[in-house]
Amino acid sequence: MMLIPCPWCGPRDEAEFHYGGQAHVAYPADPAALSDAEWARYLFFRDNPKGPFAERWSHAAGCRRWFNVVRDTATNEIHAVYRAGGQRPVSP
């Protein structure tokens, strides 16, 4: 059971959160301008690294805020937590 530091509520059990997949995949500004291949890339392609990964979480059972986490997918170590819309901190 990971302990995820909600930027608002502080550390809470993983069970209080919903996972939201890879962070920083913006909804395209003008989907109609994209080719089918470009749109498919937005819909279906995500990174799957072993190691640090910037991903979105929502504190579903708490303050209901979405935020970003850099988590090591191999060890579950959380390197950084930052608010939605924020820049991913530099390394790791």
Partner: protein, 190 residues
């Protein structure tokens, strides 16, 4: 033919043991408030309520109502029964033209009182939060899980907790609480 209010959602025989009390506190006024705490309206609303909107997560302030922090732009105002109209009007007037959402949610949650020296032990059967008085003492509140129900937990003076829960879950949660409470009642095996 405005009928009598029906019986409270949870409807159970209250527990009044030496070390543990469990009861339902029905029909409290609850108004949900959303706004950016940086909006000038926030100050006006705080003055109208008699207590500033708390901005420290997981805390609440009290005047003739309690103002509970739910999120960075969300509060729950809790008052005595029957004050929905009064509070809504007060909040809307104070909000002026600001971007503020005021929603009467009085029937959206019912309230259980869990109190006494064994209250923390009882809640710890189903709540993953650290309820130690140093961590979750009077003045703290938290949205979290109790057993398998989402709750808003409020710590008050004197080992007293309010558990605000959706009425649809109240029957489940009370059955769970009573089952977990059995060992904490006098004369029962520990």
């Amino acid at each position: 033919m405005m009928g009598e209010r029906p019986s409270p959602p949870a409807r159970f025989e209250p527990v009044a043991d030496g070390d543990l009390r469990i009861a339902e506190v029905s029909f409290l006024t609850q108004v949900n408030l959303r706004l950016d705490p940086g909006d000038p309206a926030a100050g006006d609303i705080g003055r109208a309520l008699g207590v500033p909107l708390p901005t420290e997560p997981g805390t609440y302030g009290s005047a003739d109502v309690d103002v509970l922090w739910l999120g960075p732009d969300e509060w729950l105002i809790v008052g005595e029964p029957g004050r929905e109209r009064d509070l809504e009007t007060r909040l809307r007037t104070a909000a002026g033209t600001g971007h503020v959402a005021v929603t009467d949610v009085s029937a959206q949650r019912t309230t259980l009182l869990v109190a006494g020296p064994k209250a923390r032990d009882l809640l710890a059967h189903g709540c993953a939060l650290d309820l130690h008085p140093r961590v979750f003492g009077p003045g703290r509140c938290a949205q979290t899980m109790l057993a398998r129900a989402q709750v808003l937990l409020v710590a008050r003076d004197g080992d007293e907790f309010l558990v605000l829960v959706r009425p649809s879950f109240a029957g489940y949660l009370v059955a769970w609480l009573l089952d977990a409470a059995a060992e904490h009642l006098s004369g029962q095996p520990g």
